[in-house]
Amino acid sequence: MISKVVKNAEEAVADIQNGSVLMLGGFGLCGIPENCISALLSSGVKNLTCISNNAGVDDFGIGLLLKTRQVKKMISSYVGENAEFERQLLNGELEVDLVPQGTLAERIRAGGAGIPAFFTPAGYGTEVAEGKEVREFDGKKYLLEAWLKADFSLVKAWKGDTAGNLVFKGTARNFNPMMATAGRVTIAEVEELVPAGTLNPNDIHTPGVFVQRIFQGVNYEKRIEQRTIRQA
């Protein structure tokens, strides 16, 4: 069998071209593909369209790619927490397409699931509905929304095996599983890469069929945005 395992992030992203459409997993800084983002910084690839729920912070996550001006367009649901982002947006240096979070998640799932369009109630009656088909079902109004696909999906899992199977941990799962299904090429970075047969088949979140390249990442920072604690 052809091996899906690559050495590192640099090898995994080597063929990502200027102008590619990327999906990047994560919610805030939780569950983001840290190693792949670093490798994109090194590769210097430009004019990227990044589909990601958020845009990182000034000095971490997708924020790093914004700083180096490698991103042409973001498709996201929430892009606060990032001053450089704001500057580029207000200067017209960056395009942004804001999508309701549930619609974003479902459009990505639809892309991976071969469903070109579906009806959702989110955004009906708001500016999100502009230009979209409206239809009523059982007395309620819905918008028609289209699938999203990517040239490359960059996802981060907790564990993965050599067959490409992935298991996520905690809320670091978020957008990663759907994105894994919606990339023409899906690259998975994992904290621990194990031999096929090690993971319980019942507990696998992303079946290996969706993953074309996999590697064990290094030096995960896993930065916390809001460290809230209680006294023990």
Partner: protein
């Protein structure tokens, strides 16, 4: 006068029923969880993929892989479950969450809500708010009755870009508890302690409906 944020949260907590699955927005709504009546157990949903939000973790328990939708570190409770964002919004959109409590910048008398965008200011995005307000069977808004410069935020029509239409069922403001009638209009249910009906009338730009004696809220 009027209620402070904690008192608003305490009053909203009285609306919660045992066994409900609830999504709490950032700000005052998050506080509601701290003031649930004795004997009322609910399950809190976080739209980034967690059902059963526990308290903030202790220093030792902090896990970067376990945050809520406000990106704060949290813990789990016995019975918690984890899932993807697509599954999370399937849960929300499918009507499985009984109650959504969120903040608002404006609410109109027919239940429209605006809470995501102010023209001329940096737009951060709607996050999951549009999905939540379009889907929940019951939506309670926690808000200030008036802006800092004294303008009513309970309007005939919203002036800000909308988050959703005809969706708000109840409002708990610093001045009053109001039901949004399906035929339109804010029906005054309760006054904040020491706040008169006249003051609420003067603070409400939309159609206010006052029938009979309006009791004062009871807040512990």
């Amino acid at each position: 006068m009027g209620l402070d944020k904690i008192a608003i949260a305490k009053r909203i907590a009285q609306e919660v029923k045992d066994g409900m699955y609830i999504n709490l927005g950032i700000g005052i709504p998050t506080l509601v969880a701290n003031y649930l009546p004795e004997g009322i157990d609910v399950v809190l949903q976080s739209e980034n993929g967690l059902l059963g939000i526990g308290p903030f973790p202790t220093e030792d328990e902090v896990d970067a892989d376990l945050i809520n939708a406000g990106k704060q570190t949290v813990s789990m409770i016995p019975g918690s479950s984890l899932f993807s964002s697509a599954d999370s919004f399937a849960m929300i959109r499918g009507g499985h969450i009984h109650l959504t409590i969120l903040g608002a910048m404006e609410v109109s008398e027919n239940g429209d809500i605006a809470n995501w965008k102010i023209p001329g200011k940096m737009v951060k995005g709607m996050g999951g708010a549009m999905d939540l307000v379009a889907s929940a069977e019951n939506i309670i808004v926690a808000m200030q009755h008036k802006s800092k410069d004294g303008q009513s935020k309970l309007l005939k029509e919203c002036t800000l870009p909308l988050t959703g239409i005809r969706c708000v069922k109840k409002i708990v403001s610093d001045l009053a508890v109001l039901e949004v009638l399906s035929e339109g209009g804010f029906k005054l249910l309760e006054r904040a302690p020491g706040v008169s009906v006249e003051e609420i009338k003067a603070s409400t730009a939309g159609k206010l409906i006052v029938e009979g004696e309006i009791p004062e809220m009871r807040i512990n």
